[in-house]
């Protein structure tokens, strides 16, 4: 059974379409990164999955309808909306008491164990904790719940580098096992590149790209092209070009790696680079080229095949 399964998931706020009929299937044991610009529909998708917002279309999470059965679903699902949602008046001990009181799968000893590694005092109120400590507290509460799906919506927003690093390290080392599923949205994509098993780009309420990280690494290649091979590289139809230290870096989709290696230094692009290539309104990618690139990603997603038609034409400028 898929952990999350959506068909034609749609949500509109008045005339603004936040989710435009997306199809989605997340298997158990995956760590999916949902990446998109602000207002792309990420949070709306997560809210629908969590039963916080009503939606059109079909959606099953762990076999349940989230809108109809949020309270039952939350026995198996945890989420951290962002760092600022723990009630500020609450004491740390009260948070532990309350979650232990209402959650049948909460292991208090485990939460205490996680907290003992931090400097958080049981008697402190949430308002007295730093932002990073609040995130640690929330993570400790969530990790002590034996849930099957964990949803993280910008969990590290506004945290400093140390806390952000620690957040994902703790999550991977102490929480994730192959039976759990994690869905995470964030703007700090570099941090989660090595964490994810699956990647999804979303924009204007639509899925722009959907692939596993293995596919990502197999499909996308970035080449720092030797100046004398630039024309040859252009012929292979890069989907994106940028300049670094006076050299051109070209991003290719589904082009033979051996062939590319002859053009210059080859490496796997970062998610951020691919994100910019697919979504970015950048001076490098304009008009027709941008549209065709987008289209090709849309089709490769829909068909499941890795087609790159349309991006084969040479760059015009």
């Amino acid at each position: 059974m898929a952990c999350i399964e959506a068909r034609g998931l749609r949500k509109a706020y008045g005339t603004t379409v936040a989710l435009d009929g997306i199809n989605l299937r997340v298997e158990e044991g995956r760590i999916l990164g949902l990446i998109g610009p602000n207002g792309a529909g990420k949070s709306t998708a997560l809210n629908a999955i969590l039963g916080i917002t009503p939606f059109e279309g079909q959606l099953r999470v762990l076999g349940r309808d989230p809108w109809a059965e949020r309270d039952l679903l939350m026995r198996d699902v945890c989420f951290i909306a962002d760092v600022a949602v723990l009630p500020r008046w609450m004491r740390v001990s009260q948070a532990l008491d309350y979650v232990a009181g209402v959650h049948p799968r909460f292991d208090r000893a485990k939460a205490e164990g996680f907290l003992s590694r931090t400097e958080i005092k049981r008697t402190s109120k949430v308002r007295q904790l730093s932002k990073g400590m609040v995130a640690q507290l929330h993570l400790a509460l969530v990790m002590a719940i034996d849930a099957r799906l964990l949803v993280l919506d910008e969990p590290t927003l506004g945290l400093d580098i140390l806390y952000r690093k620690q957040f994902y390290d703790t999550l991977l080392n102490d929480y994730f096992d192959r039976s759990r599923t994690i869905v995470v949205t964030t703007h700090q994509v570099e941090e989660i590149q090595n964490v994810l098993t699956d990647l999804m780009f979303i924009n204007h309420g639509r899925i722009m790209l959907e692939c596993s990280m293995e596919e990502f690494e197999a499909r996308y290649v970035e080449v720092m092209v030797n100046p004398d091979r630039f024309a040859a590289a252009q012929m292979l139809g890069p989907i994106y070009e940028r300049q670094l230290f006076g050299r051109s870096i070209l991003l290719f989709d589904n082009v033979d790696r051996q062939q590319l290696a002859a053009l210059g230094d080859v490496r796997t692009p970062s998610i951020a680079d691919l994100f910019v290539a697919v979504m970015g309104p950048s001076p490098e990618v304009r008009g027709q080229r941008f549209a065709t690139a987008k289209q090709s990603f849309g089709e490769s997603k829909a068909g499941g095949a890795a087609s790159a038609q349309g991006s084969g034409e040479p760059r015009k400028s």
Partner: protein, 313 residues
């Protein structure tokens, strides 16, 4: 770090780990407890009101012997009224405080959690919106009335002690104990508080509804529609039936629940100090009670639906 994480992982996958058994009422009980943690005014305000009254009785105790001499010279009904008056006033002041606390509690109950976004935390836990709203309605309808009763009894007992000590030198201490129907007054008080809570149910349910609906200015939204209807009626028909209905809803439970016939001479307040004045049959057969409860149920259901669909502000 590594060994720790291994231990943690083995705990996660340990098949012997069983989720704690949990009764159906447990989320409700903890939700009520959580309301009391967050809103400490629920118990502080009545306690402070009680303390102020006790302090007031202490500093006016020197006048008691003269007042009691005067009271004992009155005809029996007015004498009873004079001796009971401070205790009644204390009860009314504490009840009024509790009512104000309940009003502001309700107005914030579903608004505050949206304002500070903590609703996203509450909704991440397996507690239904029905349980959450029920626990919030439970505060003004059950917790606060019972607590108010306890505080009033404690306050009145302290007043009784103060009066006894103050009257000892003049030898009048016994008159309080003889003439004050302490037990009857306590039963009357409990009955009065319970009937008032039932009578006020639609008021609190309406306030909860507004707090779940309004984006801001909950107090104005709660009040203005009713005042507007009353004003329109006054302007259009020059009548005040609607305003009277509102007044009865806020302050009329007393007349619905008691037989009020004895007005001591020179007083606008009826004297209620006999158990025979309790009239539960009249109260339970009052259409106002049942209409109020039906309306309250409607508001409550609407508040639950709003809790479900409204996100953070």
């Amino acid at each position: 770090m590594n060994t720790e994480s291994n231990i943690a992982n083995s705990e996660v996958t340990d098949p012997g780990y069983k989720p704690a058994a949990m009764s159906a009422t447990q989320p409700f009980v903890w939700s009520v407890r959580r309301e009391l943690w967050e809103n400490r005014s629920i118990y502080f305000a009545p306690l402070i009101a009680g303390s102020v009254i006790i302090f007031g009785s202490l500093i006016t105790a020197y006048r008691l012997p003269r007042l009691r001499m005067n009271a004992l010279a009155l005809e029996p009904t007015r004498m009873r009224a004079a001796i009971e008056a401070p205790y009644d006033i204390a009860a009314m002041m504490i009840m009024f405080t509790a009512f104000i606390v309940a009003v502001f509690y309700c107005l914030d109950a579903l608004h505050g959690e949206r304002r500070d976004r903590s609703i996203l935390f509450w909704k991440s836990l397996p507690v239904s919106d029905f349980t959450a709203v029920l626990s919030k309605a439970f505060i003004p309808l059950v917790i606060l009335p019972l607590f108010t009763f306890a505080v009033i009894i404690a306050t009145q007992f302290m007043m009784l002690l103060i009066s006894t000590v103050a009257l000892l030198p003049s030898g009048l201490a016994g008159s309080t104990w003889n003439l004050l129907p302490w037990f009857q007054l306590s039963v009357i008080l409990l009955y009065g508080i319970v009937t008032m809570a039932l009578w006020h149910a639609p008021v609190f349910a309406w306030l909860l509804l507004v707090s779940g609906w309004a984006r801001r200015a909950t107090f104005l939204w709660a009040l203005l529609p009713w005042l507007a209807v009353a004003a329109i009626e006054k302007i259009a028909f020059n009548t005040a039936y609607f305003a009277q209905m509102l007044g009865r809803r806020v302050g009329g439970s007393f007349e619905e629940a008691f037989v009020v016939t004895t007005y001591p001479k020179g007083s606008h307040y009826p004297l209620v100090d006999r158990l025979t004045q309790l009239d539960p049959l009249k109260f339970l057969s009052s259409p106002g009670l049942w209409i109020g409860l039906v309306v309250a149920a409607g508001f409550f259901v609407a508040a639950v639906r709003l809790r479900r669909s409204r996100g953070p502000l």
